[in-house]
């Protein structure tokens, strides 16, 4: 099973990083979400894998999995939602005000840092 979990983390990371390296905001957000999955599973798995040993105390049960990574990941999941929400809002705001959803700034990329900012598109309407 360890192999499966490790490869799943690897694939999620690779897919996430690839999408983060795209040029539009939406895939970047999706990429960050994928990386968040990978990171959360990674942290969770650092408590080592165990089947049928949830950290819920029961009489007569002796084997429990490590509860600490679970607690940490639980809050991490909720916080990643907060982060995604902020980033999504920024992406929507930048699309609505700039008229495009490019990640990179075309003005600075062209090497004309001090030049007048070029008139970016005025929206789709």
């Amino acid at each position: 099973m360890e192999l499966l979990v490790a490869s799943a983390i690897g694939v999620l990371t690779a897919a996430g990083v690839y999408l983060i390296l795209r040029l539009r905001t939406f895939p970047v957000i999706i990429g960050t979400s994928l990386v968040s999955y990978a990171v959360n599973v990674f942290l969770f798995a650092s408590g080592r894998l165990a089947l049928n040993a949830p950290p819920i105390l029961r009489d007569g049960v002796e084997v429990y999995t490590d509860p600490l990574p679970q607690a940490l990941v639980l809050t991490a999941i909720v916080i990643s939602f907060g982060m995604t929400a902020v980033v999504v809002m920024i992406a929507v705001g930048s699309y609505l005000s700039a008229g495009d959803d490019l990640v990179n700034d075309p003005d600075t990329l062209a090497g004309t840092k001090n030049a007048e900012p070029s008139q970016r598109g005025g929206g789709k309407a």
């Binding site: 408590g47 080592r48 600490l68 607690a71 929507v92």
Partner: protein
Amino acid sequence: MSLFLIIALPFLGALLPGLMYQAGRQSCFLVTFLVTACAAIGLATHAPAVLAGEVVTASLTWLPQLGLNVNLFLDPLGFMFAGLILGIGMLIILYARFYLSRDDNMGAFFTYLLLFQGAMVGIVLSDNILMLLIFWELTSLSSFLLIGFWKHLPEGRQGARMALTVTGMGGLAMIGGMLLLGQIVGSYDLTVILENRDLIQASPLYIPALILILLGCFTKSAQFPFHFWLPHAMAAPTPVSAYLHSATMVKAGLFLMARMWPVLSGTEIWIVLVCSAGLITMVLGALIAIFKNDLKALLAFSTVSHLGLITFLLGTGTSFGAMAAVFHILNHASFKAALFMSAGIVDHAVHTRDMTRLGGLRRLMPITFAIATLAALSMAGIPLLNGFLSKEMMLEEALRTTLFGSPYLVAAVATLGALFSAAYSFRFIAHTFFGKVRNDYPAKPHDPEFGLWISPALLIIPVIVIGVAPFLAEPFVRTVTQAVIGSAAEMPSEHIKLWHGFVPALGMSAIAVVGGLILLAAWNPLARLWAATPRPEAKDIFDRIIAGAVGLASLVSERLHNGSFTRYAAIFVTAVVAIGAHAWFTGTDGAPTREMLPITPVGFAGWLMLMIATGFLVTVHRNRLAVLILMGIIGLMVSVGFNYFSAPDLALTQISVEVVTIVLLLLALNFMPNSTPKESTVLHRSRDIVVSVVAGLAAAGLIYSILMSNFPIASIADYHLANSYKGGGGTNVVNVILVDFRGFDTFGEIIVLGIAALVIYALTEALLSGPVRARLLNRGYEEKRAGDAHPMMMVVLTRVLMPVVLLVGVYIFLRGHNEPGGGFVAGLIVAIAVVMQYMASGFAWADNRQRYPYHGIIGAGVLCAGVTGIGAWFAGAPFLSSAFGYFRIPPMEKFELATAMGFDLGVFLAVVGAVMLSLESFSRLGRRAGIEESEHAMDIDPSRDEPKTETET
């Protein structure tokens, strides 16, 4: 008064001038003055003990493992400096009250001044050298604010920047030196370090430590070749110049050399470095000062020269030199502060400091004339004034010092320095006050109001008293000298006397005075000669070095930061992988110590689905709606996986977050294009594939290695498992960790979540108040819209489901302490229940029924959690300790009540509020976008059959 309070007073007091600013200049001045006076009185209460030779200490253990203790001590040396800082500080504050004009922000000025004062007092009272370093840097920062106080003047800004660059750089060097010193001795306590002279001087690290510390001292005290910043700092308001350059900032370097004297001085390298730097600075500063026309520039270079003199005295390494240095520090502080203030008075009255436009002020400004003349004569070394006494001691010491094998070199250089010094002092008097009365002064000269001249007048009193009756000052000087030299040398047998008989030093003094008068007489031809001589301009060199550094920095940053964030991300990922790989290949990692769990069919099936969904996602990522569906599958598989590997709480959280996230992304997609265009080149994509595959392999390899090995050290899991029920009263260990063991973390996390939601809200507000609003209103739709925006089936179903979902939420919340569930999950479930209404029945309908603002719910949640935590205080337990008990109300089963529940309720509320505020913000964007709303959610609007773009165009 506790030493802590003496340091804290200026820092705390720094808040007051800003607050009192509205109450007027007078109150602003009064609070500043009173704060300083309180600190000074506090210091004075220690005077009897300190002067009797005791050392007053105060200490607070902070991080003993790192040697970080807040230790303070007050010995005679610290007492003298603290006295100068606070005493002259009071006079400066009084002077500044009358000096600053109505246009100057007095509140800001006095705030900076008090910050600076506190930092200075901190330096001289610190026992721990790390703490001393912090105060040292604080003086650099606060002096930057003071020097650049007149922000509108380019010279002020440049001078402040230069001072900060030079002293800050020296400060960095000194940090290195101090750390080395601490390394040698094994302690960062000054008192311990001062007892280890032999250990330090025998260490191979002695020379690097010495050089680094001296760099710090020389930059701060403007010693050659770092002297150039001081004259440029003269762009500051005159009170600042008088304060920084007479008694405080520039004396900090001297203080540290005096402080470290017992352990660092006396070696050959010390004598060579410190004596030569001091002598060069003394002569060079004095020479330049003669030809400066600006009164303050003349005084600035004379300060440089006098600092050189004191540095030289400390550099000789003899106890007599140390005594002369202590004495001259005291004398210089008094006459130089008075001189700066007089220069300020002249500037204030005549509106110029240029000596070529001054002269003849003797009768027009008699009080200023008297003060300035006495102070300048003292600086020139005229008998019956205090400057004469210490200068005579300096010459005596110069006679005894042999440098570079020559016994006469030092004496000759010192006499030359004294001669130049006399020359510029005489010129200061002659070219300002003597000569013909002119009729072209920029303003009518007059003596200033009492408040302006009282401060320098008070400073003249010690100048005369000590000068006439040196025996009054001698006991104090000897006590301080004893503190400087410690046990490293014998106290000098000489006494401070006015008349020693016809000794060589007297002859040298006479030569200096006569020579000074001759130079003054021959000033005009000499000045022409000086103007014709080419000289390197320090500021140009400095500017060129800075420009070079900036050029180099922008060369590097422009190559790395070209505006492509994608590229930064790629560089970042590669760098992380490279560093990880380095750690991996250089570290030690043994063979696997765990057996692999057998692969089960269920596990394999889940893995396969995850792989397929991820693969599809990457290939079809341009179709954004499809991406969301695939994201849903991935999230579902991750939560199933959590459940499979014994983490039911995570599974519950993940699946509810998944729902909320997808809703959020759907809302966002409403405002964004539906597909991603194909833009990047094949080369670009291949690079990205390589980077991402490498990153994926690295992550997989790392976690595989972790998974296959046991914990290198025992996990703290056992503690949590053992104490969860006993101490926390719950059987769900994860929940107990969240609300009890690590409750403080959780508390922080709900606050972060709340802040994130508020940020989203604020961003929406900002967007809606800008041009985006109009754009949203005029926005068309790319596709035909459905006629029934709120399908009846969905509306009915969600309304029926609402109470059921809420019940589930309550159930999940209540069972949380003992079974999977808890505040986080319950919060998400309730949020989903509400979001369903928004989706099905429309924003307006849902909004109208939403009675409590979501900000309020977040606030209530944080408050609830906080109050529960504070409740523990009343039981005498630390913040967030929980208590629990078991109750039974017939006919119900026995149940448990824990205070942790109150905390969990807070978590619940904060999560509901944060999630709803985020989603609602998007819905507000939607409402502005002109999506029609009707009170009856199920109304059908036939006009929506047509795409809006067509109807408008």
